[in-house]
Subunit: 191 residues, 2 copies
């Protein structure tokens, strides 16, 4: 059965490549809509399922993976920055302390649905204003939830992780693997 | 000042690339020698320094980075597997439980030395015999300390990490960055 990742994130596709699981791409072109009052967990699960549902409509015979990642800082959902200045403000708040990364994962196929959320704690080391300004000037934070990426220039600021690391990249490999096993989309020896 | 990584590990060079810090390569051709009775921490620091010292002799005007990584399982040091069967035995012991990864880091330049060790806890999810056999058959574990790699097919088995993730790849980016700042080999805005 064809497997499709409903995301164009090169980081998520890289994780799929690490997993050794080939997949196609189908990107949701509908605007993201989240009902009022959802928690972080509910928000990422809702959006992961929304993306996967869109892809399933266009590929009804495939198994679809949807994913959505946000950062939770003091209960506030931090998505992608709106501007370079917004990224500076976010990084000033995040430096020298911990935040939580949530990824929602949806595995959908015709008549089948498995939606979960994975939570990882990340601690930043203290950053100077010069480091923040430099990091934002590279452009690296601008397309990423929480205004940073771990697999790039941001790696020097990520002091420690508690939980699943791949979740921070945007696709928690071991949990997704278990979901794909359960859905019958992969086998333990990839046969 | 030229920066040289005394390692040919493509994974360590990838972390340097993420950090945005260009470096050359000088690989130690001397056999590794470890005095009797050293702990895990002492062993990786000793080997990191040995590799860096070799590279410094050949590049006396450069700043050298040496690194060595081992896995500690119940107090036993687990290096690279000797064979596929050895990798199977190691993975059978490691599945479904935690181990500790130690990386020793040495930053050396003429008249200057900074050597540290970084410790990270890694927990594997349970693996079936079929998963272990398949993973070893791919060849991926055969050149890696502890018989696994996180940035590849092994990613689905790594349930959680506590501590610095990059340490598990073999080069703890934030600690190395701080050591390079202290040595004057990089600046906060890479100028």
């Amino acid at each position: 059965m064809e497997l499709i990742l409903a995301s164009q994130s090169p980081r998520r596709h890289e994780v799929m490549a690490w997993m050794g699981i080939p997949c196609g791409t189908e990107v949701c072109t509908e605007p993201e809509s989240v009902p009022e009052g959802l928690s972080c967990e509910e928000t990422v699960m809702h959006l992961a399922k929304q993306k996967a549902t869109f892809a399933l409509k266009r590929n009804p015979d495939a198994c679809i993976i949807g994913a959505d990642t946000v950062v939770d800082l003091d209960g506030e959902i931090i998505g992608k920055p709106k501007s370079a200045e917004d990224a500076v403000l976010t990084l000033r708040r995040m430096q020298g302390r911990s935040h939580v990364v949530y990824t929602g994962i949806a595995v959908l196929k015709n008549g089948y649905e498995d939606v979960r959320t994975v939570k990882t704690h990340v601690t930043f080391r203290p950053m100077t204003e010069r480091e923040i300004r430099w990091y934002v000037s590279t452009g690296d934070p601008l397309d990423k939830a929480g205004s940073y990426g771990v697999q790039g220039l941001g790696c020097v600021f990520v002091d420690s992780v508690e939980g699943n690391y791949f979740n921070v990249i945007g696709l928690p490999a071991p949990i997704l693997y278990e979901m794909l096993l359960k859905a019958g989309a992969v086998t333990e020896d990839r046969t």
